[in-house]
């Protein structure tokens, strides 16, 4: 096979090229030709095709994501915004925190263990590239029906992969979610979040400037894994996965799966932090989706000049790889740094100390082109911005689906409610023991939650919390939430409910919410109905962030989560980051002291659309989700944070899916104490227990603090109803039923192991 050099490409303008197989559309291919003024070489085609894929270019979502910047609230907290590897937030005392959530959905469906493991690895490198030490991970997960055979294939693999990779790195997994719904059958959502901590001075941005600076590739060797993963995996079918590599002239099928090596990643972390510490790098970029294509073009386009890379110097695991494959390879545990010439020796020395392979593969030039050579012959000569940032942008048509009205008209208020106290009791046990509401300990116990010794709160608490400074007790809290059922009923409100719930969760644990990252999981953008859901959800999130005064620091979009014509529920997942001055002041969810008073904060209305009750008891999805009142959420959060700081509450739990009874059950079982509940006048017991009205929390107030707490709520205008007391060893709802904790614990704890163990 002759090498397809730029010279050769210029001489053979009519050569057939496999642009369609690589996922490019006709007009996109024409655009590449127009940019270059000739046909692209094979290597250039490989780069454009991966970088212009949905996954890398955000071509369908970009026009909507702009709102996150345009509607951004004034915030002093944001040190680095959208566009870098991850956003950076000021948490005080000279510390900055970076965090981000990303999807690894399709790879985790194909190969659950490695897909989920490399998802953790990828997000950890994103955080590392900002100069931060990764301190914790979280994983919001969604699977098909809990009793479906394929869930039993996918879930244990995913959980083991997350646990295996994270545990090897020594990173605590402090929370996340596990949700089951038939809509995720065949399209499980495996989102991964990482939090990192650094000092303000240590923030590093990805750019390559300074002519003559060296480009160093360090970490694992490059192999044939995951080739074309980004372009093909981000498309709607898996069947074509093997074909992508054949487009580059290789007969062998390259699997679009990568295998990770967490011990290599651990070395990469320590090595990278050390070169940062000695101030040896000008710019840095992790290699994830689109591998070297992405790293070189992004570094070059963020810098001032051009870049020249000698591709044949890249250390390979498999010497038969073609230049196209090297550019597209998604081999894990690799990073790319730009280093001043006089610092290269020291950089390499540190890499050697950590047993990390490092190679100078090129340098920053004073031109404006990214040039890549293969044994002295030029195979790529492109303006880097056209690869990395100026990809196609689509204004995809979107339209409110015709079925939306019928769905919303089919309200949950028509569903038969329990007629007797006995029936209400039965339904409580049924809901608490349903897969979505039951304890996820069987899953989270497979993760190491406490390694490093800084974990303050972890699942099943409202948020995961880690201590940042041992002296002062400064800590950060992160909660991730999303509710695809709500978002299906109303994507705008559903996205805001996810925002509100994660905000509430952070506040309930005593931390002040500062900023969000999001992972937007949707179906095919080529379906106008899905695109409408996406447009509505992003609009809802941007508007919501503006009201709450919290910026979006970055995130990730995952489209094409659908099988045939059937898309998943629109599932925007929001990760909220908060700060707490002293983790000793945190608020746990457990009711631990008998005699403490239970206050229900917020207003309860009969809102059951999309509720856990409607799903478990009636297998129903219809109507409208709970109303959103972000001003109320703000007030509630302020009360929860003040109460935590001033020691007015000993426990707090946010109310969300499953309503009050779910929160009561979790707090009672966690603390091993029961609760006596009195139904307030004018409220239906069923509504009190199962309604999912937003903007609510339940708190346990020591008797000595009752007056002060009541005064605070009264003065600020937050409805607070005393509904009971922590007492005994049963949940006793006066005039209705009593369920001993032992009886409640059984379905709550046995359901998940029963289905999956």
């Amino acid at each position: 096979m002759t090498l397809d050099t730029t010279k050769h490409a210029a001489q053979t303008p009519e050569a057939e090229q496999p642009w369609a197989e690589l996922g490019l559309k006709q007009d996109e291919y024409e655009r590449v030709r127009a940019i270059l003024g000739r046909r692209p070489t094979g290597a250039e085609l490989a780069m454009y095709s991966v970088m212009w894929s949905e996954h890398c270019s955000y071509k369908s979502s970009k026009v909507h994501l702009r709102q996150f910047g345009e509607k951004a609230p004034e915030s002093d907290a944001l040190l680095v915004g959208i566009g870098e590897n991850a956003g950076v937030v000021d948490v005080g005392q000279g510390y900055a925190v970076t965090f981000k959530v990303e999807s690894h959905n399709h790879p985790s469906y194909i190969e659950p263990y490695q897909g989920a493991a490399t998802g953790v690895g990828g997000i950890v490198r994103d955080i590392l590239a900002m100069g931060a030490r990764p301190v914790a991970v979280m994983d919001p997960l969604r699977f098909g029906a809990a009793d479906h055979p394929d869930t039993k294939r996918v879930l244990p693999g995913v959980v083991a992969g997350i646990g295996g990779y994270g545990n090897c790195l020594g990173l605590p997994n402090i929370g996340g979610e596990v949700v089951f719904d038939p809509c995720y059958q065949g399209n499980p959502l495996v989102n991964a979040l990482c939090v990192g901590v650094m000092k303000h001075a240590d923030i590093h941005l990805a750019k390559a400037s300074g002519t003559g600076n060296k480009v160093i590739l360090y970490g694992a060797r490059t192999g044939g894994d995951g080739i074309g993963g980004v372009s093909v995996l981000a498309s709607e079918t898996f069947d074509t996965a093997g074909d992508s590599a054949s487009g580059t002239g290789k007969p062998t099928k390259r699997p679009a799966v990568q295998v990770g090596d967490p011990f290599q990643e651990k070395l990469l972390i320590e090595c990278t932090l050390e070169v940062f510490k000695e101030d040896l790098v000008e710019g840095i970029q992790d290699l994830g989706g689109a591998g070297l294509s992405c790293a070189t073009s992004e570094l070059a386009s963020a810098g001032s000049g051009g870049m020249r890379v000698e591709l044949d110097t890249v250390p390979l695991r498999d010497s038969s790889l073609s230049p196209e494959e090297i550019l597209m390879s998604e081999s894990q545990e690799r990073m790319c740094a730009v280093v001043k010439p006089e610092k290269v020796d020291r950089f390499l020395e540190i890499c050697e100390k950590w047993d990390v392979l490092a190679t100078v593969i090129g340098e920053v030039t004073d031109g404006e082109r990214l040039e890549i050579y293969w044994h002295g012959e030029q195979i790529v000569d492109v303006p880097p911005r056209t690869v990395a940032h100026e990809g196609p942008v689509y204004e995809r048509p979107y339209a409110r689906p015709a079925w939306q009205d019928a769905l919303q008209a089919d309200g949950a208020d028509k569903l038969p409610r329990p007629a007797t106290a006995e029936e209400l009791r039965e339904q409580v046990l049924k809901v608490i023991g349903s897969p979505n509401q039951a304890s996820k300990s069987w899953i989270t116990d497979q993760y190491d939650r406490f390694v490093q010794g800084n974990t303050v709160l972890a699942q099943p608490e409202d948020s995961g919390m880690v201590r940042v400074d041992e002296e002062t007790g400064l800590g950060v809290a992160v909660a991730t939430d999303g509710n695809g059922r709500y978002a299906k009923l109303d994507p705008y409100a559903g996205a805001q409910l996810a925002l509100a719930e994660s905000y509430r969760n952070v506040a309930a644990s005593g931390a002040k919410p500062l900023a969000i990252s999001n992972c937007l999981n949707f179906g095919s953008p080529e379906d106008p109905a899905v695109m409408w859901q996406f447009a509505e959800a992003t609009r809802g999130l941007a508007d919501g962030c503006l009201t709450l005064g919290t910026p979006v620091t970055g995130g990730n979009v995952s489209l094409y989560n659908q099988t045939g014509e059937v898309a998943i529920h629109p599932t925007p997942v929001v990760a909220f980051l908060g700060v707490i001055d002293d983790v000793a002041r945190r608020t746990p969810i457990a009711f631990a002291e008998e005699g403490q008073l239970l206050y229900l904060l917020g207003d309860t209305a009969a809102e059951l659309g999309g509720s856990a009750w409607s799903q478990v008891i009636h297998d129903h999805l219809g109507g409208l989700p709970p109303k959103v009142d972000l001003e109320r959420e703000r007030l509630l959060a302020e009360i929860l944070i003040s109460a935590s700081r001033d020691g007015m509450v000993d426990a707090a739990h946010d109310l969300s899916d499953g309503g009050l009874i779910q929160a009561l059950a979790e707090s009672c079982l966690r603390g091993g104490k029961g609760a006596r509940i009195v139904v307030p006048d004018g409220l239906d017991p069923f509504v009190l227990l199962f309604s999912e009205s937003a903007g609510r929390a339940i708190v346990a107030v020591p008797r000595s603090e009752e007056v002060r707490f009541n005064d605070m709520c009264g003065a600020r205008g937050l409805p607070a109803a005393r509904i009971g007391v922590v007492d005994g060893d049963a949940i006793d709802v006066q005039g209705q039923f009593s369920i001993p904790l032992a009886e409640l614990r059984e379905p709550y704890e046995a359901t998940i192991p029963g289905l999956l163990a």
Partner: protein, 100 residues
């Protein structure tokens, strides 16, 4: 009783961290001249009854669905005749490449 051996190896392009760890250890222990190491798994199945085509088909199915993860691994099946003597090709031995 006949023995059927199933060898499972990671596909050539898949990263093998274990093999790499072994390879890195070799020079440290003074063993030179090994360019690469790949580590796999070997299953020895004692088969009841004759190892006919039906039995081999069953073993192929076992390997494909359980012993190997065909997304990232290849496997081969071969029959051992007698005490540890390998069957030569043509005596019913089959080598099967997994399809991804």
């Amino acid at each position: 009783m006949a023995r059927v051996v199933v060898d499972v190896m990671l596909k050539p392009e898949i990263l093998d961290p274990q093999g790499q760890a072994v390879q890195r250890a070799l020079p440290r222990l003074g063993f030179e001249g090994i360019a690469d190491v790949r580590q796999g798994k070997r299953f020895e199945l004692e088969v009841e009854g004759p190892v006919d085509d039906a039995a081999l088909a069953r073993i192929h199915q076992i390997a494909e669905t359980f012993l190997a993860n065909t997304v990232i691994e290849d496997f081969s099946v071969k029959v051992e005749v007698g005490e540890g003597a390998d069957a030569t090709a043509g005596q019913g031995a089959t080598a099967v490449k997994a399809e991804s």
